[in-house]
């Protein structure tokens, strides 16, 4: 699989667009073809939000992902919405702290990760998104692990660069959880 069509969905404020940006910047540093498309709307916090990321070896056509082969979900409504859209053989990564129901599809790979609980236990609440992202990178290889730190440095605002370490720790925790 060299063409990754990724949907990242959940509530606004969960760092979904940020997670997508990490993938996009890593893709950029690898010289990949890519696009990053956020949903946008009046709700800044708490509403549903998603972003579409495409990483490809060929020029990206439509930046809209209708049929993801990778789905990261952080709330139940988003799972309801996107589960049917995932392609056969696709991978679903969900935050099992926040989503209690089972995935009904049998033709997809499902990774249930208690990311919110893990983040709280690690003392890095708010970084559940990065735990899930770590799992995605480990299980799909959509971006190369060695480029992640550089990508993070591009995405984290300069005034928050002290959070680089905890972001890396979160990514690593996700990776280890699915190892």
């Amino acid at each position: 699989m060299s063409n990754y069509e990724i949907v990242i969905a959940g509530f606004g404020g969960q760092g979904l667009l940020f997670s997508g940006k990490v993938l996009a910047y890593a893709g950029l540093l690898e010289g990949r073809e890519l696009s990053w498309l956020p949903s946008y709307g009046p709700e800044m916090r708490g509403g549903t939000a998603n972003c579409n990321v495409i990483l490809s070896d060929t020029p990206v056509g439509s930046p809209i992902v209708d049929h993801p082969n990778v789905l990261m979900v952080m709330n139940a409504p988003s799972l309801d919405k996107y589960e049917p859209a995932v392609v056969e053989g696709g991978k679903i990564f969900l935050d099992s702290t926040l989503i209690t129901r089972e995935v009904e599809r049998k033709d997809v790979e499902v990774y249930r990760i208690p990311a919110t609980q893990m983040a709280n236990d690690m003392g890095i609440p708010g970084l559940a998104n990065m735990i899930l992202l770590g799992a995605i990178i480990a299980k799909t290889g959509c971006i190369k692990e060695e480029g992640i730190e550089d990508a993070l440095k591009k995405v984290i605002p300069a005034r928050k660069m002290d959070l680089l370490g905890s972001n890396l720790a979160a990514l690593n925790a996700g990776k280890e959880y699915v190892a």
């Binding site: 940006k21 950029l28 990206v60 209708d66």
Partner: protein
């Protein structure tokens, strides 16, 4: 070649405008183009430029009118409802032969409409946005790279032909990020001896004006302007052809829908359907000749757009109704999926 950077379409417009020598931006917040203003508000003060959040869209375009009168590059950006407000000022700019850039990151209408992507200002843009007999240059980017490149192109063409230019994007183009190679910064070299810069007591006064009370004089001005437009139609049409060599069906689409159509065409080709695309990059001037040439080779056309078929009419005019022109559309902020476009292609192939 400069390094590629990752930028939102709206930010690419702003940065490219600065690189094109624009130091004066006037705007008013409206979704989904506000990143242009936000970017300018950060950047302009650092490079000695002007960022001003105007009291209204109307004031913003008139500030552009003021700067343009002094011969300098200026721009404003907005989204559909705000562009409607700017139409008065755009008409005055056209009437006074002033260059300038208006960015329209379209959203659904009419009225307050919605905030999701749309192409429903196609008529507004291509028919001369405002009262009177005129055109503006209309460029329709289909990637973040083109958001940057066509911004520069728009400024250059506007200066060259002394007329306003509109960058006609949509919410998707504005919000998405893609790698972009920014253009080289450049000096503006256009002759602007007509500008009001103060006579320095060395010449007769220059007047920037669109009022001609003598009908013969106004007629002459209009005819002169349309001679310029004719030259633009001859020289400045831009379009891109995709898989057109042996195509029997010609999709015509721009902006985000051209991206969706591309996916559909690749899939249709896999299924043995000979389909290609002509993607207009300039919507005015509209690439009529390219379409008319294609009409001799293809069986039918398919207009894919985010409105009720506005460009469809231009295609019919361009090909002199030689072939049927179908329509694949979604409106109100919806975007057709590649499957929907594919179905329309199959329909056209019957």
């Amino acid at each position: 070649m400069s390094e590629k950077v990752l930028m939102k379409g709206n930010e690419a417009i702003a940065e490219a405008a600065i690189l094109a020598g624009c130091r004066h931006y006037f705007g008013y917040p409206i979704t989904p183009q506000t990143e242009v203003a936000a970017y300018m508000s950060k950047k302009m003060p650092k490079i000695g430029g002007t960022f001003l959040q105007a009291e209204s869209e109307i004031a913003a375009i008139n500030m552009v009118y003021g700067v343009a009168s002094t011969g300098k590059r200026a721009m404003t950006s907005s989204s559909s409802p705000g562009i409607a407000l700017k139409c008065e000022g755009i008409s005055y700019m056209a009437g006074a032969d002033l260059p300038g850039l208006i960015v329209n990151v379209q959203r659904g209408g009419p009225g307050l409409g919605g905030i999701q992507p749309s192409q429903s200002d196609y008529f507004l843009a291509t028919r001369g946005p405002g009262h009177g007999d005129f055109h503006v240059l209309v460029l329709a980017p289909s990637s973040v790279q083109e958001m940057a490149d066509l911004t520069v192109k728009a400024f250059d063409l506007a200066d060259k032909y002394r007329m306003p230019a509109m960058l006609l994007a949509d919410g998707t183009m504005g919000q998405m990020m893609e790698p972009v190679e920014l253009p080289e910064p450049k000096e503006v070299t256009a002759d602007k001896s007509w500008a009001v810069t103060g006579t320095k007591m060395e010449r007769k006064h220059n007047i920037v004006n669109s009022l001609y009370l003598k009908p013969t004089e106004l007629e002459e001005k209009n005819i002169e302007r349309f001679e310029r437009y004719k030259e633009i139609e001859e020289k400045e049409c831009l379009w891109e052809e995709f898989m057109m060599e042996d195509a029997e069906i010609c999709v015509v689409s721009y902006g985000i829908t051209a991206r969706v159509s591309r996916n559909a065409i690749i899939e249709a080709r896999k299924q043995g359907i000979k389909v290609g695309m002509i993607r207009p990059i300039t919507l005015w001037p509209f690439p009529k000749k390219a379409l008319l040439l294609a009409a001799d080779k293809v069986k039918s056309f398919l207009s894919v757009e985010l409105n009720m078929g506005q460009m469809q009419e231009d295609i019919e005019l361009a090909i002199q109704c030689k072939r049927p022109v179908g329509l694949c559309k979604r409106v109100g902020g919806m975007i057709p999926s590649p499957e929907e476009v594919l179905n329309s292609i199959k329909e056209a192939n019957k």
